[in-house]
Amino acid sequence: MTLPSAYSEARTRRFNVGERVRVKLAFPPGHRRTPVYVRGKSGIVERVCGAFANPEELAYGFDGEPKRVLYRVRFRQRELWPGYAGAESDHLELEIYEHWLEPA
């Protein structure tokens, strides 16, 4: 049995492709799909993946509603890793849920 979400309704989409965003620098306990190495870092929205059940809720037996907009964000490797040894043009992309993003 799944339980209804404790979160409030997600707003309509906040960000668009090409916009600069920052991943929140936060360390809440529990199941999170936001890797620590991108927290506090800023990048560019690469694409909007759609709305998905919130994994932070699913992990604890809730129904994951309301769904959260999922974005792919592109980061410059040199901004993620001090002393990054690869090319200037190297990038990393991953998926971040909207509630982890703020305008940068």
Binding site: A85, D90, E95
Partner: protein, 205 residues
């Protein structure tokens, strides 16, 4: 407790020593599901067989077709799941993003949080893909990791790492190598390896 009596082959290293806590939990859940009549041992065995033998063939087939059919390639890049469905390949829950290698960009895939992988397209992930070593290092020193796989990416080519950390799954569309002109789709598929579809290697004729 019933011992596993299915006939698929195990990596022998996993059979050494007492079962881990997760293995015990997984077997207990299996036995409960069987006892309640929700799944049968035969269904489970068939599923494992598919992961071992059917699914790993799918990726190469799809990519070989994309090399030969420009329209299909565009559909694959636009919506990987739908393009695979054209071939009767049901990716189930996976949404697939196909990443195109070009003379300017080389793509490589990892899941730093666990071992997310397009299983319905490539089968089960290899052991190294799940290793902490690969997961930790390929995001921060991808070129060094690729070099260890024998793949040297020129400095003027961007290396783009994709961390498969949430709801998307990924496959690399490698560049078709020179020297394969006039090859049939089947022959092309034969050089498209799993490692090339993860991006730690490139196809060679």
């Amino acid at each position: 407790m019933k011992h596993h009596d299915h006939d698929h082959s195990h990596d022998p290293s996993f059979d050494d020593g007492p079962p881990s806590e997760h293995e015990i939990m997984s077997r207990a859940i299996q036995e409960l599901l069987e006892a309640k009549g929700i799944i049968s041992g035969e269904q489970l065995r068939r599923r494992m067989e598919q992961f071992d033998t059917d699914f790993p063939q799918r990726g190469a087939r799809v990519i070989a077709h994309a090399w030969l059919d420009a329209d299909f390639r565009q559909r694959l890049l636009a919506d990987g799941k739908r393009a695979c469905a054209e071939w009767g390949i049901d990716l189930e829950a996976d949404r697939l993003i196909a990443l195109e290698n070009t003379p300017r960009v080389h793509n490589v895939i990892v899941c730093t949080l666990c071992s997310c992988y397009p299983r319905a397209l490539l089968g089960m992930p290899p052991t190294w893909y799940k290793s902490e070593n690969y997961r930790r290092r390929v995001v921060r020193e991808p070129r060094a990791v690729l070099r260890e796989f024998g793949t040297v990416i020129a400095d003027d080519v961007e290396v783009r790492v994709h961390d498969s950390n949430a709801d998307m799954r990924y496959v690399v569309v490698p560049m078709r190598p020179a020297g394969t002109e006039g090859w049939s789709e089947e022959r092309l598929a034969s050089i498209i390896t799993r490692d090339a579809l993860v991006g730690v290697s490139v196809p060679k004729p």
